[in-house]
């Protein structure tokens, strides 16, 4: 701060004159109020709050006053400055708000316009459903196991109790790998991964196996030579058919909703004994369409149940071939076709849509199924 104003020359405002201070103050307040925009307000600020403004000059003169007058003058000037500053800030806030409002109004766009960055792509629904199945079982503490697609015949068939002359082996229309007698095939099911899991892991084994498999079917609306399965295998002490049912019921609920269940129908598979077909309670009509011609159900054909896959108690001969102690352990296995699952779950009508690679098929799903 400067020292006492020795060459005291009272100009414009005499700090001691209350009316002068009040007039100065009122002029400033009036100027601020009348400022129509931010530029005018800035001008007024220079005039009434700037270094050369009367109130600033008056303030500067306080130091030159006689000591007995300083206190009163200081208070008076201080109060006036406070009022002017507040008036300025108040007007500034108002004008800024007005300005912003005008600006936002003029900047309005059509938010429905498209933009040039690529839209989100899409997963193939077979991948999505594979991952969903994997997630259901990893949540149960199972592992996701995998294996090669060109597979040893022994693992694809013999180890699974499909013996060379058994009709079941002929029923799986197999692609054989050259040269004839190479002992290798395109796997006809994901089940060789069962054998691999048992050969490389020690019980307890809880694995789920999604994967691509091959059979020499011609492509049509309901068949494809290359398709996806998901398979489950459990080998542990005391495993029973009841555990298989419990697992399938849980699987059905996880994939199709609460209150649904699986149903088993006796069947034959070489690698399981006892064996069964898995039906799924229709998730659309929940059985209400059965015997009810007024409420037909397209999803289940008014059967109330949908055929879903195969399952059974692991045939002890399979355990034996894979080195599992059949005295101590038993197991169960199940498998489903994922194309078929998508067909009835998502209403895909033609198998060809799933395998031809038309982007429109994947894109209708995006990242959810």
């Amino acid at each position: 701060m400067s020292g006492p104003n020795t060459d005291y020359d009272p100009v414009e405002v005499t700090p001691l004159h209350a009316e002068e201070v009040e007039r100065t103050r009122d002029e400033a307040l009036k100027a601020f109020t009348e400022a129509a925009d931010l530029a005018a307000l800035q001008d007024a600020k220079g005039t009434h709050l700037g270094e050369k403004s009367p109130i600033a000059l008056a303030n500067r003169e306080i130091g030159a006053l006689p000591p007995q007058a300083r206190k009163e003058a200081g208070q008076r000037i201080g109060a006036a400055r406070k009022a002017i500053n507040e008036a300025f800030a108040g007007r500034l806030a108002v004008l800024e708000a007005e300005h912003e409002e005008r600006m936002l109004a003029t900047e309005r766009v059509d938010a429905t316009l498209p933009w040039h960055t690529p839209e989100l792509g899409a997963r193939h629904p077979l991948s999505l459903i594979s991952e969903q199945v994997a997630d259901v079982f990893t949540a149960l503490g199972w592992d996701v196991a995998e294996g090669p697609e060109v597979e040893a015949e022994w693992l694809n068939f013999d180890a699974l109790n499909f013996l060379p002359d058994h009709p079941a082996r002929q029923m799986q229309d197999t692609f054989f790998v050259e040269p004839a007698g190479s002992g290798t095939v395109l796997r006809t099911h994901t089940s060789p991964v069962q054998a691999r899991s048992m050969l490389t892991r020690k019980p307890p084994i809880y694995v789920v196996v999604p994967g691509r498999v091959f059979r020499t079917d011609e492509l049509d609306a309901t068949h494809t030579p290359v398709f996806y399965q998901v398979e489950g295998l459990v080998v542990d002490e005391g495993i029973t058919l009841a555990h298989l049912k419990g697992t399938l019921d849980h699987f059905v609920v996880s994939m199709f909703g609460e209150g649904l269940e699986a149903r088993l129908r006796p069947n034959f598979f070489p690698f399981t004994e006892p064996s069964a077909e898995v039906d799924l309670k229709c998730f659309v009509c929940r059985g209400a369409s059965v015997g009810n011609p007024d409420r037909p159900c397209r999803t289940c054909g008014s059967e109330g149940w949908i055929e879903w896959g195969g399952c059974g108690v692991v045939n002890p001969r399979v355990l034996q071939a894979c080195g599992i102690d059949t005295d101590r352990y038993s197991g169960f296995a199940f498998g489903m076709g994922l194309e078929r699952t998508l067909m009835f779950r998502n209403g895909v009508e033609d198998m060809r849509d799933m395998v031809e690679g038309d982007v429109r098929f994947s894109r209708q799903f995006g990242m959810e199924i």
Binding site: A152, Q170, G181, L199, Y206, T240, L241, D327
Partner: protein, 846 residues
Amino acid sequence: MRVPLSWLHEYVDLPAEVTGRDVGEKLIRAGLEVETVEESDLTGPLVVGKVLTYDDEPQKNGKTIRWCSLDIGKDEPQWVVCGANNFEVGDLVVVVLPGAVLPGGFAISARKTYGHVSSGMICSSSELGLGDDGTHGIVVLEPGEAVPGDDAIELLALRDDVLDIAVTPDRGYCLSIRGVAREAATAYGVELKDPAGLRLTGSGQGGYPVRVDDAAACSVFVTRTVTGIDPKALSPRWMQKRLLASGMRPISIGVDITNYVMLELGQPIHGYDKARLSGEIVVRRATPGEKLMTLDDQTRELDAEDLLITDDSGPIGVAGVMGGASTEISDATADVVIEAAHFHPIVIARASRRHKLSSEASRRFEREVDPLLPRYAAQRVADLLVDLAGGTLEADETVVDTHALPEPTTIRADHSARVAGASITIEETLRHLRSVGCTVEPAPAGAVPAPLAAGVHAPATEVGGDDLLSVTPPSWRPDLHDPNDFAEEVIRLFGYDNVPSILPPAPGGQGLTVAQRRRRRVATALVGAGLTEVVSYPFTGAADFDAMGLPADDPRRTTVKLVNPLSDEEPSMQTMLLATLLRTAERNAGRGATDLAIFQTGLVFLPKGESKPAPLLPVEHRPSDAEIQTLNDALPDQPLHVGVVLTGSRTPTGWWGKGQPVSWADAVQLARTIASAVGVEPKVRNGEVAPWHPGRCAEFSVDGKVVGHAGELHPKVCQAFGLPARSSAVELDLEALITAGPSSIAAHPFSSYPVAKEDVALIVPADVAAAEVEAALAEGAGELLESVRLFDLYTGEQIGEGKKSLAFALRFRAADRTLKENEVADARQAAVQVAVDRFGAVQRVG
């Protein structure tokens, strides 16, 4: 197996009102795969009529129609037009009246024809679904068989549901009415009248001479001889109807009867024309070079492993598969030799496969036929020939029988309950085992349970004691030998629905593997970049390789090939995903999607060079680790790849301005995206490999190993696949990238001191890669360098021909202090110096 419901009724005391659908439902619950139930679509009125009058009326079209009046049990006669003429006044015929629907959905109404109003129609055999009765005309009933007005549907049993059952390989016995009837009887809890429960009239000796040289392959061989049949006799309507309903075509009385008995009992029968047999029948293996013309008039080269039926003339049949033409029954056959034999299933399965000949007989023998059946089946055929064709049955009978009966298996009484995890009582177990035909006795003292009773020593549901049972399967169930085989029978009859549902607690898992997680991330990243995932078949061939411009000696032309590909043009498994992904792009482009961004992940198949066949190892025990290794060694390498194809515009033209066409740089950037999604920073340099543009291809490597390429496709490749010019593509070995990813990432502290920014512009020869200059700067700048980024690229007059200017933004920062100006200047100079030394770079000033 097609099963007419009326045939089941004959042997099972089913409730009278039961429908095919009901029976089908019960059989499904018992484990038969009933695929369809064909319900007859025939509805009446269909009545017996008596011909009162008729007039033959010649027509302009050359036909003669009959205008008939019929007594159908009403006051007024019924007038109909009939095109047939095989009836006389007074004959009883079958008349369908307006409002009825005949088989095949053929609705009948009164209609004007040939100048009359025909109120219905007189029916032929085939119109009623009864097959061809040989008359080429309408059905004439026997006098006194009915009276006018009788319901013909009931009279002729015309309405019959048919169950179509897909018989699984373990249930060979269900390839017969007898087998299905047994299941139906069990399902309904009623008695079975065994159709094989016949009185045998044969003497057991002295029949047509037979010698069996291979008893292991042919354990039973029975012949009966029926003489003096009327070969012109017609098979009765009911038999033709059942054969037709079962999917077999009536042929002649002799053939129809053998087929009928096969369907009924499950025992394939062969009939020989005795006059055409010469000498002893010998059952033996073929000798190389032998040939046989089979019933289908094909001459077949025989294999040394084929089991043959022969006589003095040579082969007269491939045992259990198909008979020979030279001895077949014809419409001149008077004396018939009936063969009913038991052949080993594997012998028949192999012969059937070898000759690509699957017959009704081979399908049954492959699944093994009841070895006790041959004598009964031969008796049944003989009885029918006598009854229906007027033959005489000789009492002499040949019976060769060396078949061993099934051995008992010792199982725990509670084994089924333990397998099921359900409370199945011992009493229920015994009842179910007996109902499938097993003989069950307490096991003799000292017996031990059979092996392969998995898990019986584990703690399981307590349902019974440790009693042991000795269970002998019935002769028609060769599939029952292991403890679990019996358990399945018990549990299916106990009812799968009655087994509780218990979710087994798994031990804690570790979630997805690192590789599985990373694959998902790559897919998510690509989708985020706007790509759409597709799938395609992995089959490829020379046309794809040519289209991709692979040189003749390109290793990717060396493929894993299939013996039996879907198409001869695509015999190979893909060695690169682009082989099939480009075809997918082509298909999409053909469907109008020319702006395309697609990706696929999948295995490629890389032959290992010389590899030994994968052995068929034994199954009685675990193979050794060395043996498992031989299996894996025989397989090709199958790494997981990711492929991307981009075509057309990467960003569209729009209100914001012009869009961006797909460029090599989009592909390279996506490859970088893939790598960074798995935490890998690959080395990138220019590459030159098909199918890419030789000057617009980036090669990616990790730890010195090339992991793939990205860039613009060669113009010829775009052309060959019908893709827009400048289409671009990526193919990376995703497995190698994933493996190279970090196991974990250590966090580095970051400095809060100020950053110093320096720009450097360097003029280098045009063929120097920007990435290498960047690497040189980074190397020279030392540890104070925080980041380096190329921000400008310039070529032109100002810097001269063959040169380019690269401008980099360098950011320096120290962890522990504010950098002084001279420190930054020194670091910058050191960075530039390495570029100068390495590439002759010149700093561009101003």
